[in-house]
């Protein structure tokens, strides 16, 4: 009974810290996702893999919410303490997965009979936690040399995931890293320098002899080359370095993306994107509910319930529906930003920012590829796309944010980061809302009433 009393006593404090808009947004996204999947399911053929996915997604949603609650309840500092161990376990799982028999031509899944685990999904969480834990009290990343370790921390899982192969997740780790470093206060010029170097390396022109070869790979390379022509009797193409090592199907996707305006290419290599555009375009302002014509296009779109779910939303509910989804994501983002801004624990702040970076990298890459702003990579739309691992992992990410939110001081002045030398103006990059909230807080700092109610409570004293 004592325990129960204790719980009742601390409960309001928990609940007060919780960011309710974020939870509402999360549930709204899950519901939208299930609805959109049911639309895809209705349109799909009876023998398609989409069949039954609405039901499964509902179960995943329940699992996801369970995972969410778990992530909320366990104190995040506790998680942080074991973050390196979790990260290590996850890395070993990633190595293990490479020795397991491939499923659908890639070493992505560990088959546990009842369900399949995707270590590369889990690494998103453990990686962010580990990185946040590592960066928490340091300022070494203010120097170039200090950036080396975080990068190594990123490159190891990235390389392991790349060999699986799962290019989408690999690419996801880097924006998250940059976002976290940036938010932690690494110097912009260092980060920009790294990006520049990476860009130069990937785009550096490499001459390649292509004379005599007429296969698809050579043609794609020629189409993407900076320059191609004859020198003497041989034909050369000047090619970006990264294109040199890409696999033919990846190259074909890039061709399909860059040459969207060419109808022949759009209908062959860029077919998936083209169909996506057809559906989005025919959605119009208010959407066009499941006409027979669109029904067929839904069928023709590969991955309609996973990676291209946003297309289905755009086709079914139009521009308005798309904006609504985007708005809900914005709500999550600003709630997260608010949590990050109000917590005084550097680990918690970095954790939240890392999760935000993770979520929004996924959102923008996914949205970008559905509407032809980016080449197509396998990337799910968090909380909406069909898929158990993705759902659980994203729920955990949100749960950790809420976790931080619960344990933040209820009212506090703006605390500088531990290095405390300069005011972190970089936060301003987050937008006007931050300025506004900061000014508000600065205003309240001198308020004696506020001051006395301010308790520097940190809720992990349980």
């Amino acid at each position: 009974m004592m325990n129960l009393k204790e719980i009742f006593r601390t409960m309001p404090r928990y609940l007060r810290g919780i960011s309710w808009p974020m939870i509402t947004a999360m549930i709204a996204l899950i519901i939208i996702g299930i609805t959109a999947i049911s639309v895809a399911e209705q349109a799909a053929r009876s023998n398609s893999i989409v069949q039954g996915s609405t039901f499964k997604q509902s179960i995943y949603a329940v699992l996801g919410i369970a995972a969410f609650i778990t992530a909320v309840v366990v104190p995040y500092r506790r998680i942080g303490q074991s973050s390196y161990i979790l990260f290590g376990i996850n890395l070993s799982l990633l190595i293990l997965v490479l020795f397991l028999p491939p499923i659908r031509n890639s070493h992505r899944w560990i088959n546990l009979r009842i369900f399949k685990v995707q270590p590369s999904e889990l690494i998103k969480i453990t990686y962010v936690v580990a990185l946040a834990w590592y960066l928490r009290y340091r300022d070494s990343y203010r120097k170039v040399r200090g950036l080396i370790l975080p990068f190594i921390l990123t490159i190891i899982p990235a390389a392991l995931i790349l060999v699986e192969p799962d290019l989408g997740t690999t690419l996801l780790l880097f924006p998250t890293l940059f976002f976290m470093l940036f938010m932690a206060g690494a110097k912009v010029r260092h980060l920009a320098g790294v990006i520049m170097v990476a860009a130069i390396v990937t785009l550096w022109p490499i001459p390649l002899e292509i004379s005599g070869k007429q296969d698809a790979l050579t043609k794609d390379r020629k189409a993407l080359a900076y320059w191609s022509g004859r020198i003497g009797s041989k034909e050369y193409a000047l090619l970006a370095g990264s294109l040199r090592i890409m696999k033919p199907h990846q190259l074909a996707r890039i061709v399909g993306w860059i040459k969207q305006s060419d109808r022949r290419i759009a209908m062959s290599k860029g077919f998936q994107l083209q169909v996506s555009m057809f559906i989005l375009g025919s959605g119009g302002l208010k959407g066009e509910k499941m006409t027979r014509q669109k029904n067929i296009y839904f069928r023709m779109l590969p991955d309609e319930h996973t990676d291209f779910i946003y297309t289905i939303i755009g086709g079914q509910w139009g521009f308005v529906g798309c904006l609504a989804v985007l708005f809900i994501y914005m709500v999550i983002f600003f709630c997260g930003a608010e949590i990050a801004g109000t917590t005084d624990d550097p680990f918690g702040r970095l954790l939240v920012l890392g999760m935000l970076g993770l979520l929004f990298s996924q959102v923008f890459i996914n949205l970008g590829m559905t509407m032809g702003l980016m080449p197509i990579t396998g990337m799910t739309l968090p909380l909406i796309s069909y898929g158990g691992s993705s759902m659980v992992v994203n729920c955990i990410a949100l749960g950790l944010m809420i976790n931080v939110a619960q344990r933040r001081p209820r009212l506090l002045g703006r605390k500088p980061f531990e290095y405390g030398q300069t005011r972190p103006t970089d936060i301003a990059a987050l937008g006007p809302l931050f300025y506004w909230s900061e000014r508000q807080r600065e205003g309240t700092k001198n308020d004696p009433c506020r001051e006395c109610t301010t308790s520097n409570l940190s809720n992990d004293a349980d």
């Binding site: 698809a216 043609k219 209908m267 062959s268 555009m277 057809f278 559906i279 989005l280 375009g281 025919s282 959605g283 119009g284 302002l285 027979r292 014509q293 669109k294 067929i296 296009y297 755009g314 139009g318 521009f319 798309c322 904006l323 985007l326 914005m330 983002f333 929004f360 923008f364 949205l367 970008g368 509407m371 032809g372 702003l373 987050l430 937008g431």
Partner: protein, 630 residues
């Protein structure tokens, strides 16, 4: 963050709001197929409504287009071929229960076997099949280029051997599982129920040439698509099929359907209109039995000048035309493809004597009382002899009726000498010998008469008067002229197609009835007077036939040889036929002419009377049986 959101929103607005309509339309257009439905050709009917040519249901042996095209050269082609072959291999593996590698072997074996087996089962040659395959690929590639995107035909079976009967189709079907990519599909083909009868008149179909398909490159309206010829389409290549192509062809249909199968728009094909011939196919068949050697029989209906029968022997079976074609075209001795009735030109010989007599009477050279003395030759026994000189001394004094009755050359030498070449040619031209016979068939060739810009001797005018020398005409020319005489001097062009009867020309030649009467009497006596040239051979008791025999000396036919293999014959080879052209033209009955006829046997060993007289007897009897003399 905000920047990216803005980018996303802007792009969304662009795709969904600004370009939405465009994407929607493109999506809609890609979801529809348009296909052209085949034309159905009209029927050719005879005057009694019997079908001479029709589109008949049959079966086609089809091979998958990807198999016909092979791996191809472009990437798309190679991919589609690879996908297709993989699917076939999988299918084999599943149905036979063998491993993939074995299935692949089987696939390659069967690929080869398909051609051999289908060739042996249908009796087609490999060469024909390859040719058909090439044409199909050409046609579909052209269609693909025109549409600008993949077409449905690319993934469908295409007919390779067409027009198979039920039995062959069943035989093929039972072997289909030993082949790959093969199907047997129902189809339709041109069927000629009477086979050989009237083959030259009906004509035949052939695939269009590239030049004929070129017309559609200009305008690209749907209407022009439906009416134009696409590669592989059939077009009339001869006879009525060609003459009445516009009537018979009809129009192709068009169908626009969704992928789900529902039809959005459909323009049904317009079936070609039927063509009614003036021929009586039963008469034609009976009449063609009368000829056992290469020759011609034409029967005209005198009052209307409709062609009742027009036989050119030898004939060929239209239904086997494709297979026989090489034999037919290389047979230089018998020339079976030549429609002799309107395209075979022969010296008319004595058959022009009625016309010369009319010319003489009309020009005032001779009158009914004018007599010339025949002593067997004109002046000198070595030149300008009468035919009777071989047997007898001469005909003695003859007037114009006697001249015709005895076919006396000397009488007509005298007439011709007085007429002169120019007036003879004028009268030949009047009777249409310088023009085409007038049936409008594309095979028609004009007769040849002397060119008046040149000078001719008296000897030539004498020879012209007995139908020798610089005159060759087709049998249709002479029977048309005789029909004009029987009609009392009104020249009408022969009519073969009822639908084209309004083109018929009527020309009153302005000949006095007396002249006509005299000539008719002369022709009457040829067959009905005991001293007439054809009395022995052609006289029939109950029908008063009028006629005129002719035995024209004709240069022998030689084979033409292409010695340097350039495709053009350049040298005459050995003689293959020689003899005289035996004629008998006439009309019946005498008092109220109903039919005009010509019987011509080429390279005959005997004269017109003995050769054609018996045929004429039977011909007139047949016509009477059919009721054309009433």
């Amino acid at each position: 963050m905000l920047v990216m959101t803005t980018v996303i929103i802007v792009r969304l607005a662009e795709v969904q709001l600004l370009e939405g309509e465009q994407y929607r339309n493109r999506a809609a257009s890609l979801l529809t197929w348009s296909e052209l439905l085949p034309t159905i050709r009209g029927e050719i009917l005879d005057r009694t409504g019997k079908i001479l040519a029709t589109d008949l249901a049959c079966y086609d042996f089809c091979l998958d287009y990807r198999m016909l095209k092979g791996p191809g050269t472009t990437k798309d082609d190679q991919n589609s071929y690879r996908r297709w072959s993989l699917r076939q291999i999988r299918k084999i593996a599943r149905s036979e229960g063998v491993s993939k590698a074995r299935a692949k072997e089987l696939f390659h074996e069967r690929l080869e076997l398909t051609w051999e087996l289908s060739a042996s089962l249908t009796g087609a040659t490999r060469n024909e099949m390859v040719h058909a395959a090439e044409n199909t690929v050409r046609r579909i590639e052209a269609w693909k280029r025109y549409v600008g995107m993949p077409v449905r035909e690319e993934t469908q079976p295409q007919p390779i051997i067409t027009g198979l009967d039920e039995e062959t189709a069943v035989r093929l079907r039972s072997h289909l599982d030993e082949m790959v990519g093969a199907t047997v599909q129902p189809s339709h083909r041109r069927w000629y129920p009477y086979g050989k009868a009237a083959c030259h008149i009906i004509g035949y179909l052939g695939e269009v040439t590239q030049a004929e398909t070129r017309g559609r490159n200009g305008s690209r309206s749907l209407e022009s698509d439906l009416t134009c010829y696409l590669p592989g389409d059939l077009i009339g290549r001869g006879g009525i099929e060609r003459l009445c192509e516009k009537i018979l062809r009809g129009r192709r249909g068009y169908r626009c359907l969704r992928r789900t199968g529902e039809i959005i728009e459909e323009i049904p094909p317009i079936v070609g209109r039927n063509v009614h011939l003036t021929l009586d196919i039963e008469l034609q068949r009976k009449v063609s039995d009368l000829l056992d050697k290469p020759g011609v029989i034409i029967v005209l209906d005198v009052p209307t000048n409709e062609v009742l029968a027009m036989v050119s022997s030898p004939e060929f079976d239209l239904n086997k035309f494709q297979h026989l074609y090489i034999d037919l075209i290389t047979d230089q001795a018998r020339l079976p493809l030549l429609n002799r009735a309107i395209a075979g030109r022969y010296p008319p010989g004595s058959t022009v004597k009625p016309i010369i007599a009319l010319a003489g009477l009309s020009e005032g050279i001779i009158t009914a009382e004018t007599q010339f003395y025949c002593k067997g030759y004109l002046h000198n026994p070595n030149a300008f002899r009468c035919w009777i000189w071989k047997y007898h001394t001469g005909h003695g004094w003859l007037d114009v009726v006697g001249g015709l009755e005895h076919s006396c050359n000397v009488f007509f030498y005298n007439v011709g000498e007085r007429l002169g070449v120019s007036r003879e040619v004028k009268w030949f031209t009047k009777f249409g010998f310088a023009d085409k016979p007038g049936t409008d068939l594309s095979e028609e060739r004009p007769g040849v008469v002397p060119d008046l810009r040149r000078r001719y001797s008296i000897g030539q005018s004498r020879h012209l008067a007995i139908g020798q020398g610089k005159i060759v005409i087709t049998p249709m020319h002479i029977v048309n002229a005789i029909a004009a005489i029987a009609r009392g001097g009104v020249l009408m062009s022969p009519v073969l197609v009822r639908e084209l009867a309004n083109r018929q020309k009527h020309i009153n030649l302005g000949i006095s009835p007396d002249a006509i009467r005299l000539v008719k009497e002369g022709m009457y006596k040829v067959i009905n007077s005991s001293s007439g040239t054809a009395y022995k051979y052609a006289h029939v008791d109950d029908i008063e036939i009028c006629g005129k025999t002719g035995t024209a000396q004709t240069p022998p036919r030689r084979i033409r040889i292409d010695s340097d293999d350039d495709g053009q014959p350049d040298r005459w080879g050995p003689i293959v036929c020689s003899g005289d052209t035996a004629w008998l033209v006439g009309f019946a009955p005498y008092r109220k002419p109903k039919i005009a006829f010509v019987i011509m046997v080429e390279y005959s060993d005997t004269g017109g009377g003995p050769r054609c007289g018996p045929i004429a007897q039977r011909l007139v009897r047949i016509c009477k049986d059919f009721g054309y003399l009433q």
